[in-house]
């Protein structure tokens, strides 16, 4: 098998830094004590996490009634958050797998971090299916295991597909991530002097020796994993979209959902990664590793996916009109002009209009602007899920059962808290593991690869 041919391309890592300096730079956060800024950031995220815990505590103690959900609107913030976070979790694997298959070497600088975010995002997402049920202590029943009732689960339920899809996605991403980490653990093992650190790194590096006889299989596995992860990452949000597409509710029962959801997921995922990376590269001085070009490329992807999402919005309306089904048609009119019009227009302006700014190179390359745009995109994508879930439910077939949904304080606490949960993990990650793949970056430094003059 042939390994990626980097030799012909432009430099991804600027200014040909000596390899050892990369070691030093990337492992610096791990070897220095966290500074004041870190603790401030951590205290903020932890207090948000505190809200999360309180919100969940109240929910467990009194019941789901603490939320705003009502009879027509059985799902609201809970599932909105779930879909939102799963979406965020799509960038990582996409970058590390799909871009890998496409030989996009600029991914190397951001892959590790993106994968990390994937894992934390999916962890956050996984919480919501678990807590949104009325009797969370029975969540285990969603797993098909032999029991004294002789009962099995219902394999026709999209919710069950979700259980499999999301957990698989989580595990595979974790494996992928870990496999990538093994050589770096080894490098750290060789660098470190501390006894405990040594033990830890040795354990995790499994005694990796940089042997080329290993590298050979290693690359093979990496390729296979990438090959699996690619359909997987597409399947996950497809299946999440089945939660809606497979139902009979007007506004949910839509065949365009799978591609539309995947595009949206990548869209929001990249926005979130970009947001975070902007800080990371500044704080850890990775400007030459996570270059402006990389960020620009991400913005381009956002532009593409954003436009796809916009197209999907338009197409939904067309199909609804074309179907000639009155409830279907009304649902979409209702989105745009009904009681939830405000949410709908927030969504459109954030997801469709804002990213169009990325047509301009200046904006693509201006860090503050792209940051703001990405924030908008994240807000917009959250509202997209809100619009899909809540507006469709609040006005379905029988006008007699229509009702308006208003979230409660607990809903807000849990939404905010989920961000706390996510960012706490991110912060700990930056201090515990190399946020850039050392081995991979070295491989793409100029002249890091043989020239084969003698052949």
């Amino acid at each position: 098998m042939s390994f990626i041919d980097y030799s012909q391309e432009l430099s991804v890592v600027e200014g040909k830094p000596p390899l050892r300096s990369l070691d030093d730079l990337i492992s610096k956060p791990l070897e220095t004590r966290p500074d004041k800024k870190f603790y401030i950031a951590l205290s903020i995220t932890l207090s948000m996490l505190g809200l999360f815990v309180i919100g969940l505590g109240l929910t467990f103690w009194y019941g789901v009634g603490m939320w705003g959900n009502n009879n027509p609107v059985g799902w609201a913030f809970d599932i909105v958050n779930f879909v939102f976070w799963v979406g965020i979790g799509h960038a990582g694997t996409l970058i590390s797998a799909i871009l890998f298959l496409f030989r996009q070497k600029w991914r190397t600088g951001i892959a590790r971090f993106a994968e990390g975010m994937t894992i934390f995002a999916v962890m956050t997402a996984l919480l919501f299916p678990l807590i949104h049920v009325g009797r969370p202590w029975l969540d285990g029943w969603l797993m098909p295991y032999p029991n004294q009732h002789g009962l099995w689960v219902n394999f026709t339920s999209p919710l069950l597909w979700d259980v499999f899809a999301v957990s698989t996605y989580f595990l595979v991403s974790l494996i992928f991530w870990y496999v990538g980490l093994i050589p770096d653990f080894a490098t750290l093992r060789e660098r470190t002097s501390g006894k405990i650190k040594k033990v830890i790194y040795s354990t995790f590096s499994l005694g990796w020796r940089f042997s080329n006889r290993h590298w050979q299989h290693y690359e093979m596995v990496y390729l296979i994993l990438a090959g699996f992860a690619t359909p997987l990452v597409l399947s996950v949000h497809t299946i999440v979209s089945f939660d809606f597409a497979v139902s009979i509710l007007p506004g949910w029962h839509t065949t365009i959902f799978p591609p539309y959801f995947v595009a949206g997921a990548v869209f929001s995922g990249f926005a979130m990664v970009q947001n975070v990376l902007i800080f990371v590269r500044k704080i850890f001085n990775y400007e030459h590793i996570i270059t402006l070009d990389t960020l620009e490329k991400m913005n381009k992807i956002m532009l593409v996916t954003g436009s796809m999402v916009g197209y999907a919005y338009a197409m939904e309306f067309f199909i609804a009109w074309y179907s000639g089904v009155q409830p279907e048609q009304f649902t979409f009119l209702n989105r745009a002009f009904g009681p939830y019009a405000w949410a709908y227009w927030i969504m459109v302006s954030c997801n469709v209009i804002t990213p169009q700014l990325f047509w301009f190179k200046k904006i693509r390359r201006s860090i503050p602007v792209m940051f703001v745009v990405a924030v908008f995109v994240n807000v917009g994508m959250w509202f997209e899920r809100f619009v899909i879930v809540v507006t469709s439910l609040s006005r379905d077939y029988l006008p007699s059962s229509w009702a308006y949904y208003t979230p409660t304080l607990v809903d807000a606490m849990i939404l905010l808290g989920s961000f706390g949960f996510f960012f706490t993990w991110i912060l700990l990650f930056t201090k515990a593991l190399p946020v850039v793949s050392i081995a991979e970056v070295k491989a793409v430094v100029d002249d890091a690869q043989p020239t084969h003059k003698d052949h």
Binding site: V64, N71, G134, W141, V153, V163, G338, D396, P399, S401
Partner: protein
């Protein structure tokens, strides 16, 4: 040595190996230890590998052993206590039924009380009762909750302190004797008297205490009607109407299908003329009313007209109809009035024309009914109108409404209050009556009451009156009492207790008997029981001239719950002199306030009944409140909308009420329901709504219920009215007529049905699925609901609530849309805001064959039973709510909280109220989805009965709770696999349709499309 060993070995005729044979010393050495090399040697700790398997496994097993022992202990599931002597009629686990009489209102329908192990758990109508024929209204059914009301008065109170019966009785008796000596009045205030025995008891009481006066008073009821009848015919007993024989019915503000007269009886009779299934047999209903009442919803033609204009309206009709003659001879006086008074009625000309033509062409086959709340003059005029049209043929005198004891007239009450103020009243006894709340304030009853030394209230729970009384004495609930009723001619129904008093309460009649005896010690529990039997034997037994002996006749009467005998009065002619020209008050300016009886709270006596507070209003679907209903245009002119507060002032009395914009109301009319705004009552009913009795006045020109010249102004602030249905303004084009567009409601007119019986399915698409269907052998359950017969009375809803342990969720939760009713009544408006067309539709789980809810449940908690039920395994449900999201009818209900625990801080979470719950139905915990089960517990009971009797289960064996309660038998339930069954015929009927048929989910609830009996368009 060597040799002889050799010699020994040589003799050996076998060897292990050649070595052995050659006597290799090595081999010999080996042979010394019998084991082979390596098995036994070097057996020492140090040689062992790092881990000792034994030790390790030992430790493991130790830990598992710990775990195992931890699982062994099982907890005690509680005591089991059987009957130590089982009563003959009771079998644990089997229900008993007791015939009795309801006293929720003056109609005293016959009831059948279902008991389990001697505890009442449900009330249904008594099928043997000739008036209500086994049906019962929401009030009657939910009334059972009053028995288990945690805030019942449990102990006799004297001066606000707990006391004991004996001493209180003694004191009261002395008071009674004092006032006897000092010749002071003893006022006995009670509600409508329906029981001849009680009347007899009162007579006995007055015999002992001669200066006793009885004051039967009610907030609402048929007082005015009776008085008008008295003026017109010289008797308070007015006949029932043969609604089932009337071709045309005109209701003038009369809610005879809602809360007036015996509405259960009315509904049954009325809907016999809404027959579309077997034969087409329709009457025509005109309703001229100011509000939109339950009756108005059923009307073929509605004429919005303010209650104060009704006299004009009747007069107009009389003028028109007299032209073509009269079947009685009206005196000249009356004729002159008719001819010489000018009337102007502004209403839809065409409708009036239709009305007059129909009345003319149906003389003797039509009925005009005036509402209880209309002034006397209107009633008299209506009586005359019926005489003119010769409709008296439709009067049923054999079932006349009897006046056991006439109501106390306003002037009598004023006189009482005067003498109370003058100190001429020794004792005031409130016999389960609440005058402080129900008497118009300008009587000044409350003040007067303070002037009386001995004030007694016999009541079930503390109320506005009892708290002002010296003594408040707890009386038995109807389910703990003996009694009887004879409020209809020829119908004598008995009331028997089904459980002995739960608290230290006494039957109020027994208390009176004790006082009569003049000896506090003379009380015993079946004082009144004996008294009743005694009266029964003397009067009823003799009347009924039966073959049986007294005792067995009594027992059979008790068993049936009702005794029938012929009772008739010879009719008196109509006295046209009663018809007088009405002193018209200047009523062109200002608003008209119309006070009407609440559908569910009666005069407020049911205000503490959570179930009744939560049953949605039949028309507005609002719960937990009363409100000022305005017509849309009036609302616009006042610049108010739903939930805004308006300030209404009626002759210097001012109240603030929330606005409810009610389509179809007559303009500048305000409709407010009575019975709300109780102040002294349990937590459930306290300060729910506003008490419009404040408006009432003893000397009002119209009737106590209609007040003109009211002024209204918008005030700051809002009050959220919560309803179970979103309110869309009728002219909001965005959502207009969706129920018709989506074919949820499919209707037609009698005319086009006659023309084309298939009009409903004229353009029908063929629907098919891609998978083969499951075959259901044996019984397959299905239901059909005849929308021609559904009056939206909500009896089914309440019946379902009681049968299926449905919790009360409270106003805040209804506001969030979390009401738990498994069955709901959807109400849709079409037409214009001023003249809406109303459609009702009972909506419950449709038990679809291809149920969408089932596909999405991840744990199979909801799935299909072999007899076609869409069933819920509560205990398997983890509560994802996905099924509810995917249910196109949104009939699934979710326990967002443990509502028993959540409602009014655990109000119904107590051992007492738990007794009401049906042991056959799971009490669902929080986080669980639930929904209509087609009363699976009844199906299972029927099945087990069938099995024990060794026969096949038939569709007719099962009657669901809603079906049982439905007064008009609109609901039919049965086996759709049996081609002969009624249900499968209904499913094939021309008017049958399924809601959202096009989804191909194959619902098993069929609706029979409503037909409207309107005139052909154009002419």
């Amino acid at each position: 040595m060597n040799d002889n060993r050799n010699s020994k070995e040589v003799k050996k005729d076998f060897w292990k190996s050649l070595k052995d044979y050659n006597n290799d010393p090595e081999m010999i050495r080996i042979k010394e230890n019998e084991f082979l090399e390596g098995v036994t040697n070097e057996f020492d700790e140090s040689g062992l590998s790092g881990i000792s398997r034994r030790k390790f496994i030992a430790l493991l097993s130790a830990s598992t052993a710990f775990a195992a022992t931890a699982c062994t202990d099982y907890r005690d599931k509680g005591e089991i206590i059987p009957y130590n002597k089982r009563p003959e009629e009771i079998h644990p686990g089997k229900a008993n039924y007791y015939a009795s009489t309801c006293n929720g209102c003056a109609n005293t329908c016959g009831i059948l009380v279902k008991t389990r192990e001697g505890r009442p758990i449900k009330i249904d109508g008594n099928p043997d009762h000739p008036v209500n024929k086994g049906k019962l209204c929401s009030k009657g059914q939910a009334g059972i909750l009053n028995l288990y009301d945690p805030e019942r008065l449990k102990e006799p109170m004297s001066g606000g302190r707990k006391s004991d019966w004996k001493s209180i009785d003694a004191e009261i008796i002395s008071y009674l004797n004092d006032s006897k000596i000092s010749n002071k009045e003893i006022a006995l205030i009670c509600g409508t008297v329906v029981s001849p025995t009680v009347k007899n008891l009162f007579d006995d009481f007055s015999r002992i205490y001669p200066n006793t006066k009885i004051y039967p008073i009610e907030l609402t009821g048929d007082r005015i009607r009776r008085e008008a009848w008295f003026d017109s015919y010289g008797t308070y007993d007015y006949p029932a109407f043969k609604l089932d024989e009337a071709e045309v019915i005109l209701s003038l503000d009369s809610d005879f299908l809602g809360v007036e007269g015996n509405y259960i009886e009315n509904m049954q009779k009325y809907t016999t003329r809404r027959e579309s299934v077997d034969k087409l047999n329709f009457n025509r209903l005109y309703v001229a009313e100011g509000r939109l009442s339950a009756t108005g919803m059923m009307a073929d033609y509605r004429i919005p007209i303010s209650p104060d204009k009704q006299y004009q309206f009747v007069l107009m009709l009389i003028k028109e109809l007299v032209k073509s003659g009269s079947s009685v001879n009206l005196g000249n006086e009356a004729l002159s009035i008719i001819n010489n008074t000018s009337v102007q009625v502004n209403a839809d000309k065409q409708k009036i024309a239709h009305l007059i033509r129909d009345l003319n062409s149906n003389r003797g086959k039509s009925i005009v009914i005036a509402g209880d709340t209309l002034p006397k003059e209107v009633h008299i005029a209506v009586n005359m109108l019926n005489e003119i049209l010769g409709n008296t043929t439709l009067f049923d005198f054999s079932k006349s409404f009897k006046s056991v004891l006439p109501f106390a007239a306003p002037d009598q009450i004023s006189r009482l209050i005067d003498s109370m103020n003058n100190g001429n009243v020794g004792v005031v006894i409130h016999l389960d009556s609440n005058p402080v709340f129900i008497l118009p304030p300008d009587y000044g009853y409350q003040a007067a009451l303070k002037k009386v030394t001995a004030t007694v209230a016999l009541t079930e729970s503390e109320n506005e009156t009892s708290t002002l009384c010296k003594y408040s004495l707890p009386v038995n609930n109807q389910l703990e009492s003996w009694g009887d009723s004879n409020n209809r001619y020829g119908v004598y129904s008995l009331q028997q207790p089904v459980i002995s008093p739960l608290f230290n309460t006494r039957q109020k009649e027994s208390v009176l008997l004790t006082w009569i005896s003049g000896d506090a010690a003379s009380y015993n529990d079946d004082l009144y029981h004996k008294y009743l039997i005694n009266y029964f034997n003397q009067n009823i037994f003799t009347k009924a001239n039966s073959m049986a002996d007294q005792k067995s006749f009594w027992y059979s009467a008790l068993h049936d719950g009702v005794v029938l005998f012929s009772e008739n009065k010879n009719r008196t002619p109509f006295n046209s002199g009663a018809f007088k020209i009405r002193k018209e008050s200047d009523r062109e300016k200002g608003f008209t306030v119309h006070l009407t009886e609440s559908y569910f709270l009666g005069d407020g006596r049911f205000a503490n009944n959570g179930w009744l507070q939560e049953v949605p209003h039949p028309v507005s679907k609002i719960t937990w409140d009363n409100y000022a209903a305005l017509s849309p245009s009036t609302a616009v002119s006042l610049d108010v909308e739903m939930n805004d507060l308006i300030e209404i002032s009626v002759n210097r009395k001012v109240l603030q009420l929330p606005v409810m914009v009610q389509p179809g109301m007559s303009d500048s009319t305000i409709n407010i329901e009575l019975g709300y705004g109780r102040t002294v009552i349990g937590d459930v009913g306290k300060n729910v709504g506003i008490n419009p009795v404040q408006f009432m006045s003893k000397n009002n020109i119209d009737s106590p219920f209609v007040y003109t010249n009211a002024t209204v102004r918008k005030v700051e602030g809002k009050h959220k009215l919560v309803s179970t249905q979103e309110h869309h303004s009728l002219d909001d084009t965005f959502v207009k007529d969706f129920h018709r567009i989506r074919k949820i409601i499919q209707e037609g007119t009698v005319e086009n049905y006659q023309k084309d019986p298939h009009f409903l399915h004229a353009n029908k698409h063929e629907i098919f699925g891609i998978t083969r269907e499951h075959k259901y052998t044996g019984v397959k359950w299905a239901m059909s609901i005849d929308l021609n017969k559904c009056t939206g009375c909500t009896a089914c809803v309440t019946s379902c609530n009681v049968e299926n342990n449905i919790p009360v969720v409270g106003k805040d939760q209804v506001e969030k849309g979390r009401e738990m009713h498994w069955m709901r009544l959807d109400r849709y408006y079409s037409g214009t805001p001023d003249d809406p067309v109303v459609s009702n539709q009972p909506m419950l789980c449709q038990h679809c064959d291809n149920a969408p809810c089932e596909n999405v449940c991840p744990v199979n908690a909801t799935n299909h039973s072999p007899d076609g039920l869409n069933q819920m395994a509560y205990n398997r449900c983890v509560g994802t709510r996905y099924c509810s999201n995917n249910c196109p009818y949104k009939v699934r209900r979710y326990n967002f909280f443990d509502f028993r625990d959540h409602f009014a801080d655990e109000y119904y979470q107590n051992n007492l109220t738990s007794l009401i719950n049906n042991p056959e139905v799971t009490v669902r915990s929080r986080g669980v989805m639930e929904k209509c089960t087609f009363c699976v517990q009844r199906i299972m009971e029927a099945r087990s009965n069938a099995i024990t009797e060794g026969r096949e289960l038939k569709g007719t064996d099962v009657v669901t709770a809603c079906q049982q309660a439905c007064p008009t038998n609109a609901i039919v339930f049965g086996d759709s696999n049996d081609p002969e069954s009624k249900i499968s015929k209904l499913r094939e009927h021309n008017l049958a349709y399924h809601v959202l048929e096009e989804l191909n989910i194959k619902p098993n609830v069929t609706y029979i499309a409503k037909l409207r009996n309107t005139h052909p368009e154009g002419n």
